[in-house]
């Protein structure tokens, strides 16, 4: 009896292991070169750190799907931003993402929460193998859960807004003294103040404006990338909202995991100048 039970258990376990390993073979997305899937940016889309890129966030190729999760923290003089995100990438074609941002005003006990749903569609190209850049279009729909501060600083809409963007990204193999180089250019139509944390539109402007965002980097090995980013931002509220920039270094030990450390220069936020600080992001691929 006991032996029979043990055998049944063994068989069941064997079947389970086989099923999981078969699933792994069908689903384990590793169809891109390491480091060419990019990172996850601060609003949950595949990108650099603050800029959404044309890359689809997982390591899926056109026959695969993948899913990933990200946690990011940006800590500047007077504010702290935490972001939790998850994304699903389908056939290196479509990226669905969700993210929750928590923006903390240090010492004031104020916490502003924003949820973001993202959608990206690859229109053209392969970031590594085509002559021309990979081009994608996307949107980020943002729902501000705590709109009191946005209302107080004069946002026309303190509940929700949607950004639309088109992005072009290219990796050039061996381009700089044999090292791989990557660049990205994004145009974003937006009404968001400080990404939406301070609402959408304001007394100075309440229309969509097109902002330019750019990234450039060098891969010093298959596992280490350094670069910088720039993100133009509107000043709808008349509070001197500044463009953002960062210098980043990414460590990509495997296709399953990457870690990015950056120095973020966020300028004036809500009238408080000189918001510089550390950006740390961990990104894992679940399958």
């Amino acid at each position: 009896m006991r032996i029979l039970q043990k055998r049944t258990l063994q068989r069941a376990l064997g079947t389970a292991v086989l099923a999981v390993s078969m699933m792994g073979q069908a689903w384990a997305a590793d169809g891109k070169l390491i480091a060419t899937a990019g990172l996850t940016q601060v609003e949950g889309s595949g990108g650099g750190g603050i800029v959404p890129w044309a890359t689809i966030s997982g390591y899926d190729s056109r026959d695969q799907i993948s899913a990933g999760a990200t946690v990011t923290r940006v800590d500047v003089s007077d504010f702290r931003l935490s972001m939790l995100g998850a994304s699903l990438s389908l056939y290196d074609k479509v990226e669905l993402s969700i993210a929750q941002q928590r923006f903390e005003i240090k010492g004031a006990g104020v916490d502003i929460k924003q949820n973001i749903v993202g959608l990206k569609y690859r229109l053209y190209g392969d970031v590594v193998y085509d002559t021309w850049p990979q081009v994608s279009v996307g949107l980020q729909h943002k729902k501000l859960e705590d709109g009191d501060v946005a209302g107080a600083v004069g946002a026309k809409n303190n509940s929700s807004g949607t950004d639309f963007y088109v992005a072009a990204t290219k990796v050039h193999l061996g381009a700089i003294a044999g090292y791989n180089a990557v660049w990205n250019l994004t145009a974003r139509a937006t009404k968001a103040n400080e990404m939406g944390i301070l609402g959408f539109g304001g007394v100075e402007n309440n229309d969509y404006q097109v902002m330019l965002e750019a990234s450039a980097g060098i891969l010093f090995s298959r596992h280490l990338a350094v670069g910088l980013e720039y993100r133009q931002k509107p000043d709808n509220l008349g509070l001197g909202e500044d463009d953002w920039m960062d210098y980043f270094i990414s460590y990509i030990p495997s296709k399953d995991f990457n870690l990015t450390l950056a120095w973020a220069k966020l300028g004036t936020i809500a009238g408080a100048p000189g918001q510089d600080g550390l950006y740390l992001s961990l990104n894992g691929q679940l399958w």
Partner: protein, 128 residues
Amino acid sequence: MALLAGCASTDKSLYDELGGQATVAKIVDNFIHEIEYDQVMFAYFAESDIDRFRSKLNEHLCFLADGPCAYTGDTMAQVHAGMNISEGDFNHGVDLFIAAMDKANVPHPLQNRLLAKMVPTRQDIIYL
């Protein structure tokens, strides 16, 4: 004209920088070794003549790296016709080729330059 010729003679080809025939042969041997131990890739090679593959890949890499060789094998499209190689499997093959270069101690920048020379062949390899 003389100036151009002068330039060409002082610039080492990628093939020479790699270390010539010795290194290329090492990369190819390592690549074959990687394939032999890889389920996905080995399936594509089950009916291949490995000796011919070895000699033609040596030639092809030499040719692509601007070495003193002519490529005498079939075109990439002919070789891969009917295999229906997926993008994912192709990229997996590139991962193995990178491993082969790593094991031949090819420096990272030279690896990238060789890969860049190989990239244009991709369209004649996948989904045929």
